[in-house]
């Protein structure tokens, strides 16, 4: 499918440099906020109103997520941009379906991980952050988790880039590790912005750790380490099932999948050349 204009000039290197700078600033904002919150463990969280750490967590993580979107969104080809709304809806629809019939997990990242596997880490990060922002239209409490969702999309894309989806048994392992990192990064948001968790079942686990004398951040981090890795392992496995069930023609229409041989199977040379003649200027997603 044609993805970029054949007649208009490509963006200047200066614009590319500016975007790279925005990406780095966004990542630094998220990492810096996390490090500050964990090192300073604001003691007033349970002693007073505790709005200072909440404001720092909110502004730092949101700023990082917005910078990442501003940096990544204009560079994505149209074929990826049209997939983002589909991913957002899949997060919601499949999440609800699985939540109601399969297991007591919420699995609300299936769409994000699917895009990351098909279109790469940058697209995954943008999809994760956008998913939180658009979903907050109905549920404002997911907005502060935008940075965590972006991180999960980015890590899923990196796992696909380095071939962890080529072996079926490696996908849940990658999901498990992603869940550990994502859970640890999201815990300060839950602790400082919400002062707890958004579900009753997770709240019970936090309550148990708190009654053993843990600080709020420690209790929520431990709860996240119990729930999130399992949740993401299931999500990655579900995405692997979905991606391998897609027809070859559909899978290989994504330049990222062809270029980095994301999925197992015969090398994609013949298909790639057919695709290239169909779309001579399809840009390669990094």
């Amino acid at each position: 499918m044609s993805s970029s204009s054949l007649t208009l000039p490509s963006p200047a290197p200066a614009a590319a440099r500016r975007r790279r700078l925005l990406e780095i600033l966004g990542a630094l904002a998220i990492a810096g906020t996390y490090v500050y919150l964990v090192l300073n463990q604001p003691a007033d969280i349970t002693g007073g109103p505790g709005s200072v750490p909440a404001l720092i967590a909110l502004s730092g993580f949101l700023l990082g997520a917005v910078l990442l979107i501003v940096a990544v969104l204009p560079t994505l080809p149209a074929s990826t941009v049209v997939l983002i709304p589909v991913a957002l809806v899949l997060n919601i629809v499949l999440g609800q379906f699985v939540g109601s019939t399969l297991v007591p997990f919420y699995l609300d990242a299936i769409g994000t991980v699917l895009i990351a596997v098909l279109a790469g880490p940058a697209a995954g990060a943008a999809t994760g952050a956008l998913s939180s922002i658009v979903w907050s239209f109905f549920n404002p409490t997911v907005l502060p988790f935008a940075a965590g969702a972006a991180l999960i999309g980015c890590l899923a894309g990196l796992a696909a880039r380095y071939g962890l989806f080529r072996r079926f048994y490696l996908a849940p392992v990658a999901g498990f590790v992603t869940g550990i990192i994502g859970g640890v990064v999201s815990a300060p948001v839950a602790a400082f912005v919400f002062g707890g968790t958004s579900g009753v079942a997770t709240g019970a686990i936090v309550s148990a750790f708190r009654s053993m004398g843990d600080s709020l951040l420690a209790a929520i981090t431990k709860q996240a380490l119990i729930s999130d890795p399992m949740d993401k392992a299931i999500v990655f496995t579900a995405v692997a099932v979905l991606v391998y069930a897609l027809p070859r023609r559909t899978r290989l229409q994504f330049p990222f999948v062809r270029r980095h041989r994301v999925l197992a199977g015969r090398a994609a040379e013949p298909e790639a050349s057919v695709q290239e003649t169909a779309a001579p200027n399809a840009p390669q997603v990094p």
């Binding site: 709005s51 979107i69 149209a78 074929s79 983002i84 019939t101 002062g195 009654s211």
Partner: protein
């Protein structure tokens, strides 16, 4: 007077930021009342209340459970069973957090339930980041009911072919696969067609655009937005400043 979508967002967003920065129980309760009042006047209360309850009830129950039952920092013990101790400090903290979060959620939901979606899309549909953001937001909001409908039809089709969800994890995984694969396949396929159609209409072009729908943006509302953004920034700075100097 017609309110510009971004003015509404600025009012809701700055109220949410200022309420968070102030973190005072009376202000939170006042904002809750004001959001419900505005929603009642605009006639969206009936849709707002279930949506807000779906978010806030589990959140409030979780807060009550976490801080009501276990609050090691609390000293005034009201009741205790083994490791669980109910302290008045814990209950006060839970009430304060719950009212603050209710205020923020209600004020933002009041905006999203009153804003005119076509106006919002028209405002966002310029070029660059805003254009793409507008496309993603508008496309998601319109696709959501359509895809939910398609998921139901796929389930019905599979059931008419003999799909019965039996007990046991493997059966459920197989049932999930039978329904999810056709859904994802058709969506990815549709997206490819849509990408080609959008590209043919200049989706990625960086030239000037004209809008079919023009949303009036009076100077007064633009000024109001600037004032609100500054007020929110000032509230955050006022809260962070003593923290930065006083430790």
């Amino acid at each position: 007077m017609r309110v510009h979508p971004l003015t509404g967002l600025a009012v809701a967003g700055s109220t949410a930021v200022i309420t968070t920065a102030a973190a005072s129980l009376p202000l939170s309760l006042a904002v809750v009342a004001a959001a419900l009042g505005v929603s009642g006047v605009t006639g969206t209360l009936r849709r707002l209340l279930p949506a807000a309850a779906a978010v806030l009830v589990p959140l409030a129950m979780s807060l009550l459970m976490v801080h009501g039952l276990a609050f090691p920092e609390g000293s005034t013990v009201l009741a205790a069973w083994g490791p669980a101790r109910i302290t008045s400090e814990g209950l006060a903290f839970a009430a304060e957090r719950a009212s603050l979060l209710s205020a923020v959620v209600l004020v933002l939901l009041a905006w999203s339930f009153t804003v005119s979606i076509p106006d919002l899309v028209a405002v966002l549909s310029s070029r660059g980041v805003r254009g793409r953001l507008g496309f993603v937001a508008a496309s998601t909001l319109t696709l959501l009911p359509a895809i939910a409908d398609r998921a139901v039809r796929i389930r019905q089709a599979q059931e008419s072919r003999g799909l019965v969800v039996r007990r046991g994890l493997l059966h459920k995984v197989a049932a999930f696969r039978l329904q999810a694969v056709p859904l994802v396949l058709s969506l990815v396929d549709d997206a490819g067609t849509r990408a080609a159609a959008l590209e043919a209409r200049g989706f990625s072009s960086t030239g000037p655009r004209t809008n079919y729908r023009v949303v009036p943006d009076p100077a007064g509302q633009r000024l109001l937005r600037a004032v609100l953004v500054l007020a929110a920034a000032a509230a955050v700075a006022a809260r962070l400043w003593p923290a930065g100097t006083g430790g």
